[in-house]
Amino acid sequence: MTTGNEKKPEKRVYLDYIATTPVLPEVLQAMLPYFSDLYGNPQSFHSWGDEPGEAMEKAREQVAALVSGSADEIVFTSSGSEANNMAVKGLAQGQIDKGKHIIVSAIEHFSVLNAARTLEKSDFELTLVPVDKYGVIDPDEVARNIRKDTILVSVMHANGEVGTIQPIAEIGKRVKEAGVLFHTDAVASTGNTPVDVNELGVDALSLAANQFYGPKGAAALWVRKRTRLIPLMDGGVQEGGRRPGTENVPAIVGLGKAAELAVRDMTSRMRKFSQLRDGLINGLLAAVDHTILTGHPTQRLSHHASFCIEFIEGEAMLLLLNSQGIAASSGSACTSRALKASHVLIAMGLPHEIAQGSLLFSLGIGNNEGDVDYVVEKMPPIVDRLRQMSPLYAKFIKEKRGVK
Protein backbone atom coordinates (compact mmCIF):
# COMPACT_ATOMS: atom_id res chain seq x y z
CA MET A 1 0.00 0.00 0.00
CA THR A 2 1.18 3.51 -0.75
CA THR A 3 1.54 5.55 2.37
CA GLY A 4 3.12 8.69 0.97
CA ASN A 5 6.51 9.85 2.08
CA GLU A 6 5.93 10.01 5.82
CA LYS A 7 8.74 8.70 7.98
CA LYS A 8 9.20 5.07 8.82
CA PRO A 9 7.30 3.93 11.92
CA GLU A 10 9.23 3.27 15.12
CA LYS A 11 8.12 -0.34 15.18
CA ARG A 12 5.81 -2.77 13.45
CA VAL A 13 3.04 -4.32 15.50
CA TYR A 14 0.72 -6.89 13.98
CA LEU A 15 -2.59 -6.95 15.82
CA ASP A 16 -4.77 -8.57 13.19
CA TYR A 17 -4.32 -12.25 13.98
CA ILE A 18 -8.02 -12.78 13.40
CA ALA A 19 -7.48 -11.87 9.74
CA THR A 20 -4.82 -14.52 9.60
CA THR A 21 -1.95 -15.90 11.66
CA PRO A 22 1.59 -16.63 10.51
CA VAL A 23 2.51 -20.28 9.97
CA LEU A 24 4.67 -21.50 12.85
CA PRO A 25 8.14 -22.76 11.86
CA GLU A 26 7.35 -26.28 13.14
CA VAL A 27 4.20 -26.28 11.04
CA LEU A 28 6.07 -25.17 7.93
CA GLN A 29 8.74 -27.84 8.52
CA ALA A 30 6.07 -30.50 8.79
CA MET A 31 4.50 -29.35 5.52
CA LEU A 32 7.59 -28.97 3.35
CA PRO A 33 8.28 -32.62 2.43
CA TYR A 34 4.77 -32.99 1.01
CA PHE A 35 5.32 -30.42 -1.72
CA SER A 36 8.19 -32.22 -3.43
CA ASP A 37 9.73 -35.38 -1.92
CA LEU A 38 6.42 -36.89 -0.82
CA TYR A 39 4.26 -35.59 -3.59
CA GLY A 40 2.16 -38.69 -4.22
CA ASN A 41 -1.61 -38.73 -4.42
CA PRO A 42 -3.09 -40.42 -1.34
CA GLN A 43 -5.67 -42.15 -3.54
CA SER A 44 -3.08 -43.89 -5.77
CA PHE A 45 -2.64 -47.63 -5.82
CA HIS A 46 1.13 -47.49 -5.59
CA SER A 47 3.58 -46.73 -2.87
CA TRP A 48 4.00 -43.05 -3.81
CA GLY A 49 0.66 -42.42 -2.23
CA ASP A 50 1.41 -44.26 1.00
CA GLU A 51 3.27 -41.67 3.04
CA PRO A 52 1.10 -38.73 1.98
CA GLY A 53 -1.94 -40.84 2.81
CA GLU A 54 -0.57 -41.74 6.24
CA ALA A 55 0.37 -38.13 6.92
CA MET A 56 -3.16 -37.07 6.03
CA GLU A 57 -4.67 -39.63 8.39
CA LYS A 58 -2.34 -38.48 11.15
CA ALA A 59 -3.53 -34.91 10.54
CA ARG A 60 -7.11 -36.14 10.79
CA GLU A 61 -6.31 -37.56 14.25
CA GLN A 62 -4.63 -34.32 15.30
CA VAL A 63 -7.57 -32.19 14.20
CA ALA A 64 -10.07 -34.54 15.82
CA ALA A 65 -8.11 -34.30 19.08
CA LEU A 66 -8.33 -30.51 18.99
CA VAL A 67 -12.14 -30.66 19.09
CA SER A 68 -12.46 -33.95 21.05
CA GLY A 69 -14.07 -35.71 18.10
CA SER A 70 -12.97 -38.78 16.24
CA ALA A 71 -10.84 -38.85 13.12
CA ASP A 72 -13.46 -40.36 10.85
CA GLU A 73 -15.71 -37.38 11.58
CA ILE A 74 -13.32 -34.87 10.02
CA VAL A 75 -13.91 -33.60 6.48
CA PHE A 76 -11.03 -31.50 5.17
CA THR A 77 -11.98 -28.40 3.21
CA SER A 78 -10.14 -25.45 1.70
CA SER A 79 -11.44 -22.77 4.05
CA GLY A 80 -13.68 -22.02 6.97
CA SER A 81 -16.13 -20.53 4.50
CA GLU A 82 -16.27 -23.78 2.58
CA ALA A 83 -16.82 -25.73 5.80
CA ASN A 84 -19.66 -23.37 6.73
CA ASN A 85 -21.28 -23.64 3.33
CA MET A 86 -20.95 -27.39 3.45
CA ALA A 87 -22.56 -27.54 6.87
CA VAL A 88 -25.48 -25.23 6.19
CA LYS A 89 -26.33 -26.38 2.68
CA GLY A 90 -25.24 -29.99 3.08
CA LEU A 91 -27.03 -30.62 6.38
CA ALA A 92 -30.20 -28.77 5.32
CA GLN A 93 -30.42 -30.60 2.03
CA GLY A 94 -29.78 -33.89 3.78
CA GLN A 95 -32.89 -33.38 5.95
CA ILE A 96 -35.23 -32.12 3.29
CA ASP A 97 -37.76 -34.88 3.91
CA LYS A 98 -38.20 -33.63 7.50
CA GLY A 99 -38.79 -29.97 6.77
CA LYS A 100 -37.39 -26.80 5.32
CA HIS A 101 -36.99 -24.40 8.21
CA ILE A 102 -33.56 -23.28 9.36
CA ILE A 103 -32.45 -20.97 12.15
CA VAL A 104 -29.25 -18.97 12.22
CA SER A 105 -28.16 -16.04 14.35
CA ALA A 106 -28.18 -12.47 13.07
CA ILE A 107 -24.43 -12.09 13.58
CA GLU A 108 -23.17 -15.12 11.63
CA HIS A 109 -20.26 -14.85 9.24
CA PHE A 110 -21.43 -14.29 5.67
CA SER A 111 -20.46 -17.85 4.75
CA VAL A 112 -23.26 -19.01 7.06
CA LEU A 113 -25.67 -16.12 6.61
CA ASN A 114 -25.49 -16.03 2.84
CA ALA A 115 -25.51 -19.82 2.54
CA ALA A 116 -28.77 -19.73 4.51
CA ARG A 117 -30.10 -16.97 2.27
CA THR A 118 -29.25 -19.03 -0.78
CA LEU A 119 -31.31 -21.87 0.68
CA GLU A 120 -34.12 -19.40 1.29
CA LYS A 121 -34.22 -18.77 -2.44
CA SER A 122 -34.86 -22.44 -3.03
CA ASP A 123 -37.91 -22.68 -0.78
CA PHE A 124 -36.29 -23.04 2.61
CA GLU A 125 -37.56 -20.80 5.36
CA LEU A 126 -35.06 -18.83 7.39
CA THR A 127 -35.35 -17.38 10.88
CA LEU A 128 -32.66 -15.05 12.19
CA VAL A 129 -32.30 -14.98 15.96
CA PRO A 130 -31.34 -11.62 17.43
CA VAL A 131 -28.53 -10.84 19.86
CA ASP A 132 -28.36 -8.59 22.90
CA LYS A 133 -26.14 -5.52 23.22
CA TYR A 134 -23.12 -7.72 23.97
CA GLY A 135 -23.74 -9.83 20.90
CA VAL A 136 -25.00 -12.79 22.95
CA ILE A 137 -27.71 -15.12 21.67
CA ASP A 138 -30.36 -16.16 24.18
CA PRO A 139 -30.78 -19.99 24.16
CA ASP A 140 -34.47 -19.54 25.01
CA GLU A 141 -34.90 -17.37 21.95
CA VAL A 142 -33.44 -20.14 19.80
CA ALA A 143 -35.74 -22.70 21.46
CA ARG A 144 -38.78 -20.48 20.95
CA ASN A 145 -38.11 -20.34 17.23
CA ILE A 146 -37.82 -24.09 16.74
CA ARG A 147 -40.83 -25.48 14.88
CA LYS A 148 -41.95 -28.94 13.80
CA ASP A 149 -40.34 -28.44 10.41
CA THR A 150 -37.07 -27.00 11.72
CA ILE A 151 -34.18 -29.08 10.44
CA LEU A 152 -31.09 -27.07 11.25
CA VAL A 153 -29.81 -24.49 13.71
CA SER A 154 -26.48 -22.75 13.11
CA VAL A 155 -24.99 -20.43 15.72
CA MET A 156 -21.37 -19.38 15.76
CA HIS A 157 -19.14 -20.26 18.69
CA ALA A 158 -17.29 -16.93 18.80
CA ASN A 159 -17.76 -13.83 16.73
CA GLY A 160 -14.63 -12.61 14.97
CA GLU A 161 -15.72 -9.02 14.98
CA VAL A 162 -16.69 -8.48 18.60
CA GLY A 163 -15.08 -11.52 20.23
CA THR A 164 -18.20 -12.65 22.10
CA ILE A 165 -18.34 -16.36 22.93
CA GLN A 166 -21.86 -17.79 22.68
CA PRO A 167 -23.49 -20.13 25.20
CA ILE A 168 -23.29 -22.95 22.65
CA ALA A 169 -23.66 -25.77 25.19
CA GLU A 170 -26.92 -24.23 26.45
CA ILE A 171 -28.21 -23.73 22.94
CA GLY A 172 -27.07 -27.25 22.05
CA LYS A 173 -29.14 -28.73 24.86
CA ARG A 174 -32.29 -26.99 23.68
CA VAL A 175 -31.70 -27.87 20.04
CA LYS A 176 -31.02 -31.51 20.90
CA GLU A 177 -34.20 -31.74 22.97
CA ALA A 178 -36.09 -30.71 19.86
CA GLY A 179 -34.28 -33.32 17.79
CA VAL A 180 -32.82 -30.76 15.40
CA LEU A 181 -29.31 -30.74 13.91
CA PHE A 182 -26.98 -28.11 15.33
CA HIS A 183 -23.97 -26.60 13.56
CA THR A 184 -21.51 -24.12 15.01
CA ASP A 185 -19.07 -21.98 13.09
CA ALA A 186 -16.07 -22.27 15.39
CA VAL A 187 -13.57 -20.79 12.95
CA ALA A 188 -12.66 -17.85 15.18
CA SER A 189 -12.50 -19.94 18.35
CA THR A 190 -10.99 -23.32 17.47
CA GLY A 191 -7.33 -23.39 18.38
CA ASN A 192 -7.75 -20.25 20.47
CA THR A 193 -10.11 -21.45 23.16
CA PRO A 194 -11.07 -24.98 24.28
CA VAL A 195 -13.54 -26.62 21.92
CA ASP A 196 -15.18 -29.95 22.73
CA VAL A 197 -17.90 -31.09 20.36
CA ASN A 198 -19.58 -33.22 23.01
CA GLU A 199 -19.60 -30.54 25.67
CA LEU A 200 -20.94 -28.10 23.12
CA GLY A 201 -23.58 -30.59 22.02
CA VAL A 202 -23.17 -29.88 18.32
CA ASP A 203 -23.59 -32.10 15.27
CA ALA A 204 -21.19 -30.19 13.06
CA LEU A 205 -18.40 -27.70 13.67
CA SER A 206 -16.29 -25.61 11.28
CA LEU A 207 -12.65 -24.73 11.91
CA ALA A 208 -9.78 -23.18 9.94
CA ALA A 209 -6.00 -23.58 10.27
CA ASN A 210 -5.07 -19.98 9.56
CA GLN A 211 -6.74 -18.93 12.81
CA PHE A 212 -4.24 -20.95 14.85
CA TYR A 213 -0.86 -20.71 13.11
CA GLY A 214 -1.56 -23.19 10.34
CA PRO A 215 -1.60 -22.45 6.62
CA LYS A 216 -4.31 -20.73 4.63
CA GLY A 217 -6.31 -23.08 2.44
CA ALA A 218 -6.63 -25.73 5.13
CA ALA A 219 -9.81 -26.11 7.15
CA ALA A 220 -12.26 -28.76 8.23
CA LEU A 221 -15.81 -29.57 9.07
CA TRP A 222 -16.29 -31.99 11.93
CA VAL A 223 -19.54 -33.88 11.38
CA ARG A 224 -20.94 -36.26 13.98
CA LYS A 225 -21.07 -39.91 12.88
CA ARG A 226 -24.17 -41.00 10.96
CA THR A 227 -25.17 -37.45 10.14
CA ARG A 228 -26.45 -37.08 6.60
CA LEU A 229 -24.49 -34.49 4.65
CA ILE A 230 -25.03 -33.75 0.96
CA PRO A 231 -21.73 -32.77 -0.69
CA LEU A 232 -21.36 -29.30 -2.20
CA MET A 233 -19.44 -30.65 -5.17
CA ASP A 234 -19.67 -33.79 -7.21
CA GLY A 235 -16.56 -35.77 -7.91
CA GLY A 236 -14.45 -38.54 -6.52
CA VAL A 237 -14.24 -40.61 -3.38
CA GLN A 238 -12.04 -38.32 -1.31
CA GLU A 239 -13.14 -37.49 2.23
CA GLY A 240 -15.59 -40.36 2.20
CA GLY A 241 -17.33 -38.90 -0.85
CA ARG A 242 -18.19 -35.76 1.05
CA ARG A 243 -15.57 -33.49 -0.43
CA PRO A 244 -14.13 -34.51 -3.78
CA GLY A 245 -10.86 -33.24 -5.25
CA THR A 246 -7.23 -34.29 -4.84
CA GLU A 247 -6.37 -33.65 -1.23
CA ASN A 248 -4.15 -30.66 -0.45
CA VAL A 249 -1.75 -32.84 1.52
CA PRO A 250 0.82 -30.21 2.58
CA ALA A 251 -1.93 -27.89 3.83
CA ILE A 252 -3.71 -30.73 5.62
CA VAL A 253 -0.45 -31.78 7.28
CA GLY A 254 0.05 -28.16 8.34
CA LEU A 255 -3.45 -28.03 9.77
CA GLY A 256 -2.76 -31.21 11.73
CA LYS A 257 0.53 -29.93 13.12
CA ALA A 258 -1.00 -26.57 14.04
CA ALA A 259 -3.83 -28.42 15.81
CA GLU A 260 -1.32 -30.50 17.78
CA LEU A 261 0.57 -27.37 18.85
CA ALA A 262 -2.69 -25.60 19.75
CA VAL A 263 -3.62 -28.45 22.07
CA ARG A 264 -0.14 -28.37 23.63
CA ASP A 265 0.05 -24.58 24.04
CA MET A 266 -3.60 -23.62 24.54
CA THR A 267 -3.37 -22.80 28.24
CA SER A 268 -0.17 -20.80 28.06
CA ARG A 269 -1.28 -18.90 24.96
CA MET A 270 -4.63 -18.05 26.50
CA ARG A 271 -3.03 -16.87 29.71
CA LYS A 272 -0.59 -14.63 27.85
CA PHE A 273 -3.15 -13.26 25.40
CA SER A 274 -5.81 -12.51 27.95
CA GLN A 275 -3.32 -10.50 30.01
CA LEU A 276 -2.31 -8.50 26.96
CA ARG A 277 -5.95 -8.13 25.94
CA ASP A 278 -6.97 -6.77 29.31
CA GLY A 279 -4.03 -4.38 29.23
CA LEU A 280 -5.11 -3.16 25.81
CA ILE A 281 -8.78 -2.82 26.74
CA ASN A 282 -8.11 -1.00 30.00
CA GLY A 283 -5.34 1.10 28.48
CA LEU A 284 -7.35 2.20 25.49
CA LEU A 285 -10.55 2.92 27.41
CA ALA A 286 -8.51 5.09 29.78
CA ALA A 287 -6.55 6.85 27.03
CA VAL A 288 -9.35 7.60 24.58
CA ASP A 289 -12.63 9.08 25.82
CA HIS A 290 -15.93 8.26 24.14
CA THR A 291 -14.76 4.76 23.37
CA ILE A 292 -17.02 1.74 23.71
CA LEU A 293 -15.84 -1.82 24.22
CA THR A 294 -17.83 -3.95 21.79
CA GLY A 295 -18.80 -7.52 22.54
CA HIS A 296 -19.07 -9.17 25.92
CA PRO A 297 -16.75 -7.76 28.60
CA THR A 298 -15.76 -11.20 29.95
CA GLN A 299 -17.27 -13.92 27.75
CA ARG A 300 -14.91 -13.15 24.91
CA LEU A 301 -11.98 -14.60 23.00
CA SER A 302 -8.78 -14.23 24.98
CA HIS A 303 -6.94 -12.69 22.02
CA HIS A 304 -9.64 -10.21 21.03
CA ALA A 305 -10.17 -6.54 21.91
CA SER A 306 -12.77 -4.61 19.92
CA PHE A 307 -14.07 -1.09 20.21
CA CYS A 308 -16.11 1.64 18.67
CA ILE A 309 -14.39 5.01 18.78
CA GLU A 310 -17.08 7.66 18.60
CA PHE A 311 -17.21 10.51 16.05
CA ILE A 312 -14.67 9.00 13.66
CA GLU A 313 -14.52 6.30 11.02
CA GLY A 314 -12.63 3.01 11.06
CA GLU A 315 -10.81 3.00 7.75
CA ALA A 316 -9.28 6.39 8.44
CA MET A 317 -8.03 5.04 11.78
CA LEU A 318 -6.57 1.96 10.08
CA LEU A 319 -4.64 4.13 7.61
CA LEU A 320 -3.18 6.26 10.39
CA LEU A 321 -2.42 3.20 12.53
CA ASN A 322 -0.71 1.62 9.53
CA SER A 323 1.41 4.74 9.13
CA GLN A 324 2.57 4.08 12.71
CA GLY A 325 3.33 0.46 11.87
CA ILE A 326 0.22 -0.97 13.54
CA ALA A 327 -2.04 -3.51 11.84
CA ALA A 328 -5.65 -3.63 13.04
CA SER A 329 -9.05 -4.16 11.50
CA SER A 330 -12.48 -2.54 11.33
CA GLY A 331 -16.07 -3.39 10.55
CA SER A 332 -16.90 0.08 9.25
CA ALA A 333 -18.95 0.46 6.08
CA CYS A 334 -15.99 2.07 4.35
CA THR A 335 -13.80 -0.97 4.92
CA SER A 336 -16.41 -3.34 3.50
CA ARG A 337 -16.45 -3.75 -0.26
CA ALA A 338 -20.23 -3.41 -0.16
CA LEU A 339 -20.02 -0.14 1.81
CA LYS A 340 -22.45 -1.50 4.35
CA ALA A 341 -22.11 -1.10 8.08
CA SER A 342 -21.23 -4.24 10.02
CA HIS A 343 -24.33 -6.40 10.36
CA VAL A 344 -22.91 -7.58 13.68
CA LEU A 345 -22.71 -4.14 15.28
CA ILE A 346 -26.09 -3.12 13.87
CA ALA A 347 -27.64 -6.34 15.22
CA MET A 348 -26.21 -5.41 18.62
CA GLY A 349 -28.20 -2.19 18.44
CA LEU A 350 -25.38 0.25 17.78
CA PRO A 351 -26.35 3.26 15.65
CA HIS A 352 -24.67 3.54 12.25
CA GLU A 353 -22.43 6.47 13.14
CA ILE A 354 -21.04 4.57 16.12
CA ALA A 355 -20.64 1.35 14.14
CA GLN A 356 -18.58 3.38 11.66
CA GLY A 357 -15.96 3.83 14.38
CA SER A 358 -15.37 0.10 14.70
CA LEU A 359 -11.80 -0.91 15.47
CA LEU A 360 -10.54 -4.32 16.45
CA PHE A 361 -7.24 -5.65 17.62
CA SER A 362 -6.50 -9.36 17.76
CA LEU A 363 -3.44 -10.60 19.57
CA GLY A 364 -1.08 -13.42 18.82
CA ILE A 365 2.19 -15.12 19.60
CA GLY A 366 4.28 -12.26 18.20
CA ASN A 367 2.93 -9.72 20.68
CA ASN A 368 4.24 -8.52 24.02
CA GLU A 369 3.44 -5.82 26.56
CA GLY A 370 5.55 -3.32 24.63
CA ASP A 371 3.17 -3.69 21.68
CA VAL A 372 0.17 -2.92 23.84
CA ASP A 373 1.91 0.13 25.31
CA TYR A 374 2.83 1.30 21.82
CA VAL A 375 -0.79 1.11 20.63
CA VAL A 376 -2.11 2.82 23.74
CA GLU A 377 0.47 5.57 23.19
CA LYS A 378 -0.25 6.00 19.47
CA MET A 379 -4.04 5.89 19.56
CA PRO A 380 -4.90 9.21 21.30
CA PRO A 381 -3.18 11.49 18.74
CA ILE A 382 -4.70 9.47 15.88
CA VAL A 383 -8.19 9.76 17.34
CA ASP A 384 -7.67 13.42 18.14
CA ARG A 385 -6.50 14.19 14.63
CA LEU A 386 -9.58 12.59 13.07
CA ARG A 387 -11.95 14.13 15.62
CA GLN A 388 -10.54 17.56 14.88
CA MET A 389 -11.84 17.24 11.34
CA SER A 390 -15.08 15.45 12.18
CA PRO A 391 -18.34 17.39 11.83
CA LEU A 392 -19.92 14.95 14.29
CA TYR A 393 -17.35 15.79 16.94
CA ALA A 394 -17.70 19.52 16.29
CA LYS A 395 -21.46 19.18 16.74
CA PHE A 396 -21.00 17.17 19.93
CA ILE A 397 -18.61 19.73 21.42
CA LYS A 398 -20.98 22.58 20.55
CA GLU A 399 -23.94 20.82 22.13
CA LYS A 400 -21.89 20.03 25.21
CA ARG A 401 -20.94 23.67 25.58
CA GLY A 402 -24.54 24.67 25.03
CA VAL A 403 -25.65 22.48 27.92
CA LYS A 404 -23.18 24.05 30.34
Binding site: T2, L319, S332, A333, C334, L339, P351, S390, P391
Partner: protein, 143 residues
Protein backbone atom coordinates in the same frame (compact mmCIF):
# COMPACT_ATOMS: atom_id res chain seq x y z
CA UNK B 1 -7.31 -2.57 2.05
CA UNK B 2 -7.94 -0.15 -0.80
CA UNK B 3 -4.94 0.83 -2.86
CA UNK B 4 -4.85 4.60 -2.73
CA UNK B 5 -2.72 6.74 -5.01
CA UNK B 6 0.15 8.71 -3.48
CA UNK B 7 -1.87 11.84 -4.00
CA UNK B 8 -4.84 10.45 -2.05
CA UNK B 9 -2.54 9.41 0.78
CA UNK B 10 -0.85 12.81 0.78
CA UNK B 11 -4.20 14.60 1.07
CA UNK B 12 -5.36 12.15 3.72
CA UNK B 13 -2.19 12.39 5.79
CA UNK B 14 -1.88 16.17 5.32
CA UNK B 15 -5.36 17.46 4.64
CA UNK B 16 -5.59 21.09 3.49
CA UNK B 17 -8.24 23.54 4.68
CA UNK B 18 -9.62 21.51 7.58
CA UNK B 19 -11.94 23.37 9.90
CA UNK B 20 -14.95 25.56 10.22
CA UNK B 21 -15.47 29.13 9.01
CA UNK B 22 -17.36 30.77 11.85
CA UNK B 23 -18.94 33.50 9.74
CA UNK B 24 -19.30 31.42 6.57
CA UNK B 25 -21.27 32.87 3.68
CA UNK B 26 -22.46 29.42 2.67
CA UNK B 27 -22.58 25.99 4.28
CA UNK B 28 -23.14 22.66 2.54
CA UNK B 29 -23.72 19.43 4.40
CA UNK B 30 -23.95 16.07 2.63
CA UNK B 31 -23.87 12.38 3.42
CA UNK B 32 -25.13 10.41 6.35
CA UNK B 33 -23.66 7.82 8.65
CA UNK B 34 -25.56 5.02 6.92
CA UNK B 35 -23.57 5.45 3.72
CA UNK B 36 -20.51 6.01 5.82
CA UNK B 37 -19.36 9.53 5.12
CA UNK B 38 -20.45 13.02 6.10
CA UNK B 39 -18.98 16.26 4.80
CA UNK B 40 -19.58 19.87 5.65
CA UNK B 41 -18.15 22.60 3.42
CA UNK B 42 -17.89 26.23 4.48
CA UNK B 43 -17.28 29.03 2.00
CA UNK B 44 -16.37 32.66 2.27
CA UNK B 45 -17.19 34.71 -0.82
CA UNK B 46 -15.72 38.03 -1.91
CA UNK B 47 -16.42 39.66 -5.28
CA UNK B 48 -18.01 36.47 -6.57
CA UNK B 49 -14.86 34.56 -5.76
CA UNK B 50 -14.29 31.81 -3.17
CA UNK B 51 -11.99 33.66 -0.86
CA UNK B 52 -11.85 30.80 1.59
CA UNK B 53 -13.04 27.20 1.67
CA UNK B 54 -12.91 24.91 4.68
CA UNK B 55 -14.33 21.52 5.44
CA UNK B 56 -15.11 18.99 8.15
CA UNK B 57 -15.33 15.33 7.23
CA UNK B 58 -16.41 12.15 8.96
CA UNK B 59 -15.31 9.28 6.81
CA UNK B 60 -12.67 7.10 5.28
CA UNK B 61 -9.30 8.02 3.79
CA UNK B 62 -10.83 8.71 0.39
CA UNK B 63 -13.51 10.97 1.88
CA UNK B 64 -10.91 13.06 3.68
CA UNK B 65 -8.68 13.27 0.59
CA UNK B 66 -11.65 14.20 -1.61
CA UNK B 67 -12.66 16.98 0.78
CA UNK B 68 -9.12 18.29 0.94
CA UNK B 69 -8.54 18.36 -2.80
CA UNK B 70 -12.00 19.76 -3.53
CA UNK B 71 -11.32 22.63 -1.15
CA UNK B 72 -7.98 23.24 -2.83
CA UNK B 73 -9.52 23.15 -6.29
CA UNK B 74 -12.28 25.53 -5.29
CA UNK B 75 -10.28 28.11 -3.40
CA UNK B 76 -9.72 31.26 -5.42
CA UNK B 77 -12.12 30.27 -8.15
CA UNK B 78 -15.13 32.36 -9.14
CA UNK B 79 -18.49 30.87 -8.16
CA UNK B 80 -19.20 30.17 -11.80
CA UNK B 81 -15.92 28.27 -12.13
CA UNK B 82 -16.38 26.45 -8.84
CA UNK B 83 -19.75 24.92 -9.77
CA UNK B 84 -17.98 23.27 -12.69
CA UNK B 85 -16.01 21.07 -10.30
CA UNK B 86 -17.43 17.61 -10.90
CA UNK B 87 -16.82 14.30 -9.12
CA UNK B 88 -14.91 13.16 -12.19
CA UNK B 89 -12.54 16.12 -12.00
CA UNK B 90 -12.01 15.54 -8.28
CA UNK B 91 -11.16 11.88 -8.85
CA UNK B 92 -8.87 12.84 -11.73
CA UNK B 93 -7.07 15.43 -9.62
CA UNK B 94 -6.48 12.72 -6.98
CA UNK B 95 -4.89 10.51 -9.64
CA UNK B 96 -7.72 8.04 -9.38
CA UNK B 97 -9.78 6.43 -6.63
CA UNK B 98 -10.57 2.76 -6.03
CA UNK B 99 -13.83 1.89 -7.74
CA UNK B 100 -15.80 1.40 -4.54
CA UNK B 101 -14.72 4.86 -3.37
CA UNK B 102 -16.10 6.81 -6.31
CA UNK B 103 -19.08 7.84 -4.23
CA UNK B 104 -16.71 9.79 -1.98
CA UNK B 105 -15.76 12.00 -4.92
CA UNK B 106 -19.47 12.62 -5.51
CA UNK B 107 -19.81 13.81 -1.94
CA UNK B 108 -16.99 16.36 -2.24
CA UNK B 109 -18.40 18.02 -5.33
CA UNK B 110 -21.92 17.88 -3.87
CA UNK B 111 -20.93 19.46 -0.57
CA UNK B 112 -19.17 22.32 -2.33
CA UNK B 113 -22.12 22.86 -4.67
CA UNK B 114 -24.51 22.80 -1.74
CA UNK B 115 -22.49 25.47 0.07
CA UNK B 116 -22.52 27.62 -3.07
CA UNK B 117 -26.28 27.06 -3.44
CA UNK B 118 -26.75 28.08 0.19
CA UNK B 119 -24.87 31.28 -0.53
CA UNK B 120 -26.82 31.94 -3.74
CA UNK B 121 -30.13 31.42 -1.96
CA UNK B 122 -29.19 33.74 0.88
CA UNK B 123 -28.13 36.41 -1.58
CA UNK B 124 -30.98 35.77 -3.97
CA UNK B 125 -28.64 35.45 -6.90
CA UNK B 126 -28.42 33.00 -9.76
CA UNK B 127 -25.21 31.35 -10.73
CA UNK B 128 -24.80 29.93 -14.17
CA UNK B 129 -24.44 26.16 -14.05
CA UNK B 130 -25.48 25.81 -10.40
CA UNK B 131 -28.80 24.10 -11.06
CA UNK B 132 -27.88 22.73 -14.45
CA UNK B 133 -27.29 19.22 -13.31
CA UNK B 134 -30.65 19.14 -11.64
CA UNK B 135 -30.79 17.14 -8.44
CA UNK B 136 -27.56 15.30 -8.58
CA UNK B 137 -27.00 11.97 -7.03
CA UNK B 138 -27.78 12.60 -3.39
CA UNK B 139 -26.46 11.11 -0.25
CA UNK B 140 -25.99 7.43 0.13
CA UNK B 141 -27.79 6.09 -2.89
CA UNK B 142 -24.76 4.17 -4.02
CA UNK B 143 -26.09 0.85 -2.99
Amino acid sequence: MPMYSEKVMDHFMNPRNVGEIKDADGIGEVGNPVCGDMMTFYIKVKDNRLEDVKFQTFGCGAAVAVSSITSEMAKGKTLKEAVKITPGLVAQELEGLPKNKYHCSNLGAQALRKAIRDYAQKKGIEIEGLEEKGEEHEEGEED
